[in-house]
Symmetry: C2
Amino acid sequence: MEFSEIAAGMNAEIRRTVTDADVVLFAGVTGDMNPAHMDAVAAAGTRFGQRVAHGMLCAGYISAVLGMKLPGPGVIYMGQSLRFMRPVFIGDTVTARVEVLSVVTEKRRVQLATRCFNQNGEQVLDGEALVWVPEEAGDGANPVRKRAPVKKAGKAKQNEPVKKAGKAKRS
Amino acid sequence: MEFSEIAAGMNAEIRRTVTDADVVLFAGVTGDMNPAHMDAVAAAGTRFGQRVAHGMLCAGYISAVLGMKLPGPGVIYMGQSLRFMRPVFIGDTVTARVEVLSVVTEKRRVQLATRCFNQNGEQVLDGEALVWVPEEAGDGANPVRKRAPVKKAGKAKQNEPVKKAGKAKRS
């Protein structure tokens, strides 16, 4: 998405069912083998009564929405706050939702509310993200702009920031 | 680790080399297929010039230190702040280090500084974690306490908090 198109209130989400494979693979790539995630017998003795998914797996879903949808490809992750509110169990279906809170035009930064919910609508994660949208996003990392340069000229309003469209008219 | 043993200044770390498999699997479990992570041609056009690892992968290393070492098994993750300072490339070796900042005894909460560094000693991630150490950690989720109740009595100084050792002497 073009930086100039991003405005407060815009939102996007993804939904994923957390499977056992997700938890096992997440443990493998991060090294987090906490028995709360990996050991059903140990987990049965905790207040949750069963294995729980890694909190950072849900944080990964937020990263996915930011990197894939809003702002989308090319975005640079600057920061994230996370508050883990409820456990996520294997079999739960998690919706990760981001919503633009503010846009700092001079710095090309976007602040977003980031939340995850389970299939019962209960919020499992809360937080905020700060991202930076580089100008190069349109030149290299954003395949939409890269693939169709001709289209851009013809559909200036859809793909080009307002500023650039204005300059084109003056020349 | 016993909650009563945790004190400000204590620290722990893990080290991992970020491989291509880590990045590909992390993309798979989270759904974050941002071309910055997955597409070498697109990534060559960005300021980093090559594919970068997901920031949340490093955050996962922090989760690993917390869940495996300090405070260790049984810990409940309450919150985390993350500031992504530098890109992590495939082939980089990342050290994730946590250090206890403060302990809130009444609430069994621990606040920790959480930092990641690359092989050149450059900090790539900064933040703070808040965790909760349940009493049940020793009953179910912490295999060290569960497996060896006899050992505990014999090696009070190694495995038992000072307070409990003191009580034992008085009785």
